[in-house]
Symmetry: C2
């Protein structure tokens, strides 16, 4: 079935959803950046929208709010993640659910910081909320938990921040220190100018908070404040050298268990599942009866995250 | 929703489905081995059934055929995989679909050897067919393909036979030859007395044939005869030694691509995703827009495979 998508957020993820929706048989009928929107009930032409954005700095003539007046089936919320009240993302979700539309989130804020509020709105709506894209980009971790059944998964553990992992991998491989590799990662576009979210473990913690919310199935609500978080800024190059002498390396490992959420640099054996390199992500799920499952792949990137969004959309049919 | 299961096959998988169904909220109302069956509309008591099987060699007083007369929602077909006409498994599936019941297969035969026949029967039935347990035990490869959408997955590759992988891992780690490690694997119960299916690559090929059928989405039908298959009997210990000098090792790698199905021993880098050790399995999915996904875990075992069966059952609701 072809669904009509309204996409909020014109960054790498929103832009890729616009590009790839047709490949999944869906139409983007509304598309907004922070200052403008384009609406076409017959489906927008991706290249025309991208061209205008590049040429004029806007995606269309309308106000961003106009997307909510469009005749759409699914709101794709791909605006930047914000903490605390998770605004303005949360209000976008509230409005779509209030209009009985489905919501697919790439934005981590509403589902990490206001999970119970979100589920309460969903319970009142004919629409449902999906958010595979908020955890690990292309890695289908939430759909796997859903398939196994949350009560049959006892813990999630892994590497869910590609920037921090790239920095630690490079420090270990080249014997370079943190500041040097961070500068290199910023040159390559792997790290942002302000790398706080990634290197201080906040981005990884938000993802493990979401996993904790999903695994607890509403019994306990988690938010970023509930997580113990330590980043990688203070990992000295010498720690990686010492680890290597012992056949190990350091990774920024997150965990969501019945005891809560923790993110911190940890020693892991070289060549083990958790020692993924570069911007790869991995999640290990501990199951009650089927041992450990490992799922790894590209944890970020426009087309990768858009694939998770569009898989969520297809699940709504 | 609680579903009533009829389980055919009292081996490790069928027995574990009997044990674990209650944990998923379902009841086993009929259970058969090759010579007898037990039926109870209120749900069978697993330990009573296991006790009787151990004490008397039968699971109950009735004929195996009696399971089809039980009031059940889902047939779990967990009898041994057979080649060619895939009987008697295929007839079991035919009878259940003819009665408009759902079918969950752990038996690879019907879905590897008679995929088009199976889909034709399903099209005529109110029941559906699921078969996650037939490919990679606990590894959720089919549900991941289904979530991504088969047209968005271009190839599947990996290690899907734990016995062959155990033998190759041990040969590489201990510098022992094939015959020696095979005998050890047989002592440990990792290899069967007749190891043909595993060491000649047939079991792995059946799984990749199933993957090829799923990926081609009915456009091309594959069966075992269409696969190029080479096993591990002729891999000399010296090949593993030479590979190790070069930072590589040998694994029995299967592939399902648009070009067909191949299974053969191949060189892979040590420490790479495909170099899983022991009885671990791994599948790599190549996606159109999201790069490569790796999924690894326990590819066999009673509770592991039963978990896949019961996840399939829960998907029917």
């Amino acid at each position: 079935m072809s669904l009509r998508l309204a996409v909020l957020g014109a960054g790498a993820v929103g832009g890729s959803v616009l590009d790839l929706a047709g490949d999944y048989g869906h139409d983007v009928v509304a598309f907004a950046d922070s200052s403008s929107s384009a609406v076409d009930p017959a489906g927008l032409d991706p290249s025309a929208v991208h061209d205008r954005k590049e040429r004029e700095g806007v995606v269309g003539d309308a106000d961003p709010e106009a997307v909510f007046d469009a005749d759409y089936d699914v709101l794709v919320e791909a605006t930047p993640t914000t903490l605390g009240d998770a605004e303005p993302g949360f209000s976008h979700v509230e409005r779509a659910l209030g209009d009985d539309r489905h919501v697919v989130l790439a934005n981590k804020g509403p589902v990490a910081e206001r999970y119970a509020d979100l589920r309460a709105l969903e319970a009142e709506s004919a629409g449902t909320v999906q958010f595979e894209a908020a955890v690990g980009g292309a890695i289908p971790v939430l759909s796997t938990i859903s398939d196994l059944g949350a009560p049959h998964v006892t813990a999630a553990r892994g590497v869910l921040n590609g920037t921090a992992n790239f920095i630690l991998s490079r420090m270990a491989a080249e014997g370079l220190d943190y500041e040097h590799v961070l500068a290199e990662a910023q040159d390559l576009g792997v790290a942002e100018a302000d790398p706080t979210f990634d290197v201080d473990g906040i981005d990884a913690a938000l993802k493990f908070v979401i996993l904790a919310n999903v695994l607890s199935d509403g019994k306990t609500e988690y938010a970023l404040d509930d997580a113990e978080v330590e980043g990688i800024r203070n990992v000295p190059g010498t720690a990686l050298d010492l680890a290597a002498e012992d056949g190990r390396t350091v990774r920024l490992i997150g965990e969501a268990t019945a005891d809560g959420v923790r993110v911190a640099p940890r020693l892991v054996p070289q060549g083990s599942a958790l020692s993924v390199t570069g911007t790869q992500n991995i999640v290990q799920l501990e199951t009650k009866h089927a041992g450990q499952l490992n799922i790894s792949g590209r944890g970020a990137g426009g087309p990768e995250t858009a694939t998770a969004v569009l898989s969520d959309v297809s699940r709504l049919e």
